[in-house]
Symmetry: C2
């Protein structure tokens, strides 16, 4: 792979997400060679993907070039590469651009959408875990409304304006809220010749509450906010299929919809060679010890969403969100140096900084420590925290400008079909 | 096409560029029905496409939703449609979403890249007339540098870092200048393990001067600026082919390059049914009289790049830039009402507001009236004028922020491969 040999030990990091970047920053100016591999040349700020899908933000303002993160870092190498396999015994990584050996390997590959083996849903529903996927969803939403104008068939038109979001976690809740605001504020103006009141936003949750993992108060309030905005919340309903036209559920409830978003689960984005039964646990995550070390392989570490560390406070592993990744990345930076210099490693202690989700304008829910608050203040806290963790000054400025503009003007201007999604609408015809 | 019948005459505008939008705005609150058709749901600010290709601006900030332009316009209809054909005798437009009759038709379809029949170049070179094309070029540029890291072959690496821009008009000059600045300011930092000094930017012009149509002083100064920035300017060289690897010319000059941009010509984006020999002139433009009326069809008009109006000042038609389109659109708005109300139409008089092009930081050339100026002041004028004509307050803010950031930081952060272009590099291998 054309990485020069070095007298320092080589640490290979797979994945430039929150975990990978936090780790890389910690390794700066240490006596190591660092190779960062990612299949994209940018870091994605995943918590705001739903705003890209709904035209509130430009895709480029929630992405950040990985090469720029490493500017000025001596002995750091970035390679745009998709990893195909790892051989943990030979200590070799196989990628689409060649092989690479490592002294220490850090798997920070994050998570991907979990369709739980339902290939029909996987084929027909939209996922929202990457920028291209979010842009596809943006295009689809807009194309559906353009298409709705073209039909005289009421059923078809309703299906084209019917959103089904499967999964009542933060992603589902935030997307449903944003769509409800678009329905109210933008659709009637953009489509004066379409009865957009008939547009529906359905949020389907298999469990009996939204925002699993949040406090009861946050969960209840999020549901109230969604209902205020006109979202139809279905709890205790399990989706069983979607053939591109009809969503079926375990109950006799069905939905005809041209836009189904699957936000009902994620799983570790594991790599061949590290996916043996002994290494992984539920959700395709790699089991790690308190130092993020992979069982049986003291020179392989996993951090963030892909890693599953069991602890008393988190008997099922840490939540698959940014904070554990950032904190594990930082600690691992120190620990790798400890390991190399034969000092004992520090065990990871998760500092839960809380959870938050936004439903819409002035409507968010926050659980921070023992404080639970909802509404306008929570919404400002949500925005501040997201701006803070967004990488890059320019990105922050542009996102801030957009938010101010969207707030003042009740608008979302990036409703652009730059790359058409080109859905097949024929199945909606009789 | 589901457009309601109206007692008012129906004006159909094909194309939401500068001409189409200026016209639509003039028709607001008049006693007409207006249908705007465009194959995109947004207006593209073409003069800044090269900044998208070079990572200086986000694509979304130079696009503007066409539906938003028409918000609050009574009796206006937008349809996302690609026009296949016009039957000027039956007064019917055939599109991918059905047929539409018109009382008055305005063709404002603009221009497309002219490869002068060279299908090999068309297949292998990059064009830059739309946002997706500009994003493809952005991806390609970045992918080429990632690829350059992977080879030990000097020739291959040089070819991957060799830019060839064909065409010395404003687009070619501006793109070459931007690439030269990237080479100087960004590549060495982003690719410390690549000898980016070997990257070359070649600008090839078939004629004997750059910026045809500009003053001699502007032309000369632009060339000086480009040379200062390290661009290799080749004048009097006509490119004859590009097989994906080698650019051939009429001389014995050849270039090995993985990134060839064709900016050597545009032609009217004409429509089947209006492209008969009697109707069109050189460059595939539709011949119009002084009222922008198409010869023989008093109810069909053409404005902007697609229209060719011969006049004493412009014996070969007006330049294919924004100003004639805007001015013709505005006048035609009045003239259509004159025509409908049986008043005489006003002949078009082009007010040449001048020409400008930017080469780089503090380096632009302006010919405005009898003033010719170059350098820092010209650069500020260029920026101010472009911000002014950009549509939308939010777009202006975001572009302004980006420009200030880029200026202060010598940076262009949107160097993101969001949708890989996936060029086939195999031909560069031995």
């Amino acid at each position: 792979m054309n990485i020069p040999l070095s007298s320092y030990p080589r640490i290979v990091i797979i994945g430039g997400g929150f975990g990978g970047i936090s780790l890389a920053k910690k390794l700066r100016e240490k006596e190591v060679q660092v190779v960062l591999l990612d299949k994209n040349n940018y870091h994605t700020f995943q918590p705001l993907l739903y705003q890209v899908s709904t035209g509130g933000l430009e895709p480029d303002s929630i992405a950040y070039p990985l090469r720029k993160v490493l500017i000025g870092y001596e002995n750091f190498y970035f390679r745009l590469a998709a990893v195909n396999e790892v051989d943990p015994n030979k200590k070799i990584i196989y990628t689409n651009i060649g092989e690479l050996t490592y002294d220490y390997l850090v798997v920070a590959t994050g998570a991907e959408t979990n369709f739980f083996g339902n290939t029909e849903i996987e084929k027909n529903a939209m996922a929202m875990k990457s920028i291209p996927q979010s842009l596809n969803l943006r295009s689809l939403i807009l194309e559906n409304f353009e298409q709705a104008l073209l039909t005289d068939d009421y059923h078809e038109r309703d299906a084209l304006m019917n959103f089904v979001i499967v999964g009542g976690g933060p992603t589902g809740v935030e997307l449903a809220g944003a769509l409800a605001e678009i329905k109210k504020g933008i659709l009637p103006k953009d489509y004066p010749d379409l009865d957009t009141r008939r547009a529906q936003i359905n949020l389907i949750q298999s469990g009996d509450r939204l925002l699993d993992g949040f406090s009861d108060r946050a969960s209840k309030k999020a549901e109230d906010f969604l209902e205020e905005l006109g979202v139809q919340v279905w709890k205790g309903v399990r989706v069983t299929g979607y053939n591109g036209k009809t969503v079926t559920t375990k109950t006799d409830l069905v939905f005809e919809s041209a836009a189904v978003v699957w936000a009902a689960g994620v799983m570790g984005a594991n790599i061949k060679g590290l996916d043996s039964e002994e290494l992984i646990v539920r959700g395709n995550r790699i089991k790690v010890n308190e130092f993020n070390q992979v069982i049986d392989f003291p020179d392989i570490f996993a951090i963030g969403d892909i890693a599953c560390m069991f602890s008393e406070d988190n008997p099922r592993g840490h939540p698959m969100v940014a904070q554990p990744a950032i904190q594990q990345g930082r600690l691992l930076g120190d620990n790798l140096i400890n390991l190399i210099e034969n000092r004992p490693m520090e065990p990871f202690q998760y500092k839960d900084k809380g959870s938050m989700a936004t439903v819409g304008r002035n409507k968010a829910v926050c659980d921070i420590g023992r404080y639970r608050f909802q509404g306008v203040f929570a919404w400002f806290v949500w925005m501040f925290v997201h701006l803070f963790f967004l990488i890059g000054f320019r990105n922050r400025m542009v996102v801030f400008i957009n938010w101010v503009y969207n707030y003042v003007k009740f608008d979302r201007e990036a409703r652009l079909i730059i790359r058409p999604y080109k859905r097949d609408y024929s199945q909606f015809k009789d």
